[in-house]
């Protein structure tokens, strides 16, 4: 497998009057061709900041970035964090592109969607107006918009939410990128429309052998489409592994808590949900040590004082399934089942 995207030791912080907001801390991640990697977490965990970094969309004047994000382009490799912004701009939309969460506000209301789509093509293929037009109709057809030639002349408000999200996907695909970043692509949509869009994205991924970085808070969506999963909490990846690892063999207390918080469609006697107590921490004053420790149910099982003292490393017995926790990994299945008992 070839890696399409390699993030290593990414740190992102935003200076404010009250101190730096540490949005992402020491994040490493790879994305291969044809695979879907999901980043899951709650609001403020740093998932959107990560996706914007990959696109090189942070304002350098208000953001402190370090680490590297390497994306191969032909025979060279561009580092989005450290290379010339012009080089990054030249790749944006061509090598990597992005679908945003809100299809209502991501399209320009004044321009016909055909024009907006063609623009994405013309930026990288200047002057080829006829090709752009042809490509626009092809892409609208591909994402399942009926009568694409006619609909290209419509304005965004003439489309429903689901249709607008299809237009957004078509726009992202105009230059056949190899990396597609989807930031909560179905959050604003109804479930039946969400099912349509997820199916569409999976079909397109197969067709172009794209790597998809999916940002979401919805564990159901993750289970439906992700090959590998990174769980984020307060700017850190707390667990990384295959979808099966995360759902059936969770190793980080936060992942366990998150899975227990989701109501499952079940028959018969209903179990009380096991919520995670407390609130996510402020990113300005992160708790010392493990950021999750003030909310962690299993803190008694870790070596005394370790959780408040140091942030555990992201390690695991298997290198493909790593997590952050001071409780010895061999003890964890038993520790987690004990408190979650009776399930």
């Amino acid at each position: 497998m070839t890696s399409l995207l390699e993030i290593s030791n990414l740190r992102v912080s935003f200076p404010t009057d009250d101190g730096d907001v540490h949005a992402v801390d020491n994040l490493s991640l790879t994305l291969n061709a044809g695979e879907t990697v999901a980043i899951v977490g709650e609001s403020g965990s740093g998932k959107t900041v990560t996706s914007l970094s990959v696109m090189g969309l942070h304002n350098p004047r208000s953001t402190k970035l370090s680490g590297s994000i390497k994306i191969p382009d032909g025979d060279q490799v561009i580092d989005v964090v450290n290379d010339d912004p012009e080089k990054v701009r030249n790749m944006r939309g061509r090598v990597m592109s992005m679908i945003f969460q809100d299809p209502m506000s991501s399209l320009h209301p004044y321009f016909r969607i055909g024009k907006q789509l063609a623009e994405a093509y013309l930026v990288h293929n200047p002057g080829k107006k006829e090709d752009a037009k042809k490509r626009t109709v092809e892409m609208l057809d591909l994402v399942g918009i009926p009568e694409p030639a006619k609909r290209a002349k419509d304005y965004p408000h003439q489309f429903s939410g689901g249709m607008r999200q299809r237009v957004m996907i078509a726009m992202a695909l105009m230059n056949t990128p190899r990396v597609l970043i989807a930031d909560e692509p179905t959050t604003a949509l109804d479930v039946t429309v969400q099912a349509q869009i997820l199916t569409l994205m999976q079909g397109i991924q197969k067709e172009f052998n794209m790597g998809i970085l999916l940002i979401t808070h919805d564990l159901g969506v993750v289970a439906a489409v992700a090959d590998r999963v990174s769980v984020m909490y307060a700017g850190n990846i707390v667990e990384q592994g295959s979808a099966d690892d995360i759902f059936y063999r969770p190793m980080a207390p936060y992942t366990v808590g998150l899975l227990n918080s989701v109501p499952k469609i079940s028959y018969g006697e209903k179990q009380r949900l096991q919520s995670i107590a407390g609130q996510p921490p402020s990113l300005i004053n992160l708790p010392s040590g493990c950021a999750f420790s003030p909310r962690c149910t299993y803190i008694q099982s870790a070596p005394a004082g370790s959780c408040a003292a140091t942030l555990p490393d992201l390690v695991g017995i298997s290198p493909s399934h790593v997590s952050r926790c001071h409780i010895p990994e061999s003890d964890r299945p038993q520790v987690f089942s004990h408190v979650a008992g009776g399930k």
Partner: protein, 326 residues
Amino acid sequence: MSTEAALFSIQNLTKHFPVKKSGVFNNQKALVKAVDGISLDIAEGETVGIVGESGCGKTTAGRSFLKLVEPTSGKIIYKGEDITHLKPGKMRPLRAELQIIFQDPYSALNPRQTIGNIISAPFEIQGITPDGGVKKEVQRLMERVGLNPEHFNRYPHEFSGGQRQRIGIARAIALKPKFVVADEPVSALDVSIQAQVINLLEDLKREDGITIVFIAHDLSVVQHISDRVVVMYLGKIMEVSDSNNLYSAPHHPYTKALLSAVPQADPHIERTRERIILSGDLPSPINPPSGCVFSTRCWKAQDICHSKAPEMVQVGQSQVACHFPE
């Protein structure tokens, strides 16, 4: 269930919103049929979930139950009394028993009022002084919903989304209501916080015997909390069923499609399941399809579905509005 046993019952309730039709010569008004003839009996202590996609009329239904929007026609019966046409003054004493929890905890609280003022407003409006004084009662309520009672003098912006939703719940339960409409109370919250609020609502229901109408688009949440589930589509009820039954044996094609579209947090289920992908979008509620409103997207639709609206029929333990129930 007979009407006498029901605490709250609605009969053939409709709510149509007039909208202006575009066109120079056409000044005729069109109607958005947000709720179009729904009937439902709710027993005391029961939790009824209402699910559906955006635009199906679930929020309008919930609000018209409490006469926060005046229904166009139909009847609302509470404790055997027809309250459909009660004047606001006559309605006010009843409001103590009928409460609502709003969806958006950010816009449902007045930013200029302290939490103490917000939660004590119901006492002031109803002219009730609880035992031990208002302040003591408000602090008890705050403790009840899991807030620190010392935060009495803080303003809404000092609280997180989950805490604000708790404030909204404290306000709703202040007067010990019998019947609460919870309109998407957890959809603005993160998963871990969502579970806290669901557990809180379940405690209130168990300890105070509150009857709850729980409106949400998230089917797994609704199944978790409800005894009975109502599925709505385009202003009409498609199916009413016991919650376990609905999920194990859906009878209406729309219910089936809706359930198959909900992704579950379990990769094995997700890999093996078959999704029913509905074609197209929700039709406009201004011009709903003739006959069965779901007929334009239904894979089982026959001629009769396009011409004649189906009646509610009993299938197994569910009531289904379909000509060809599963």
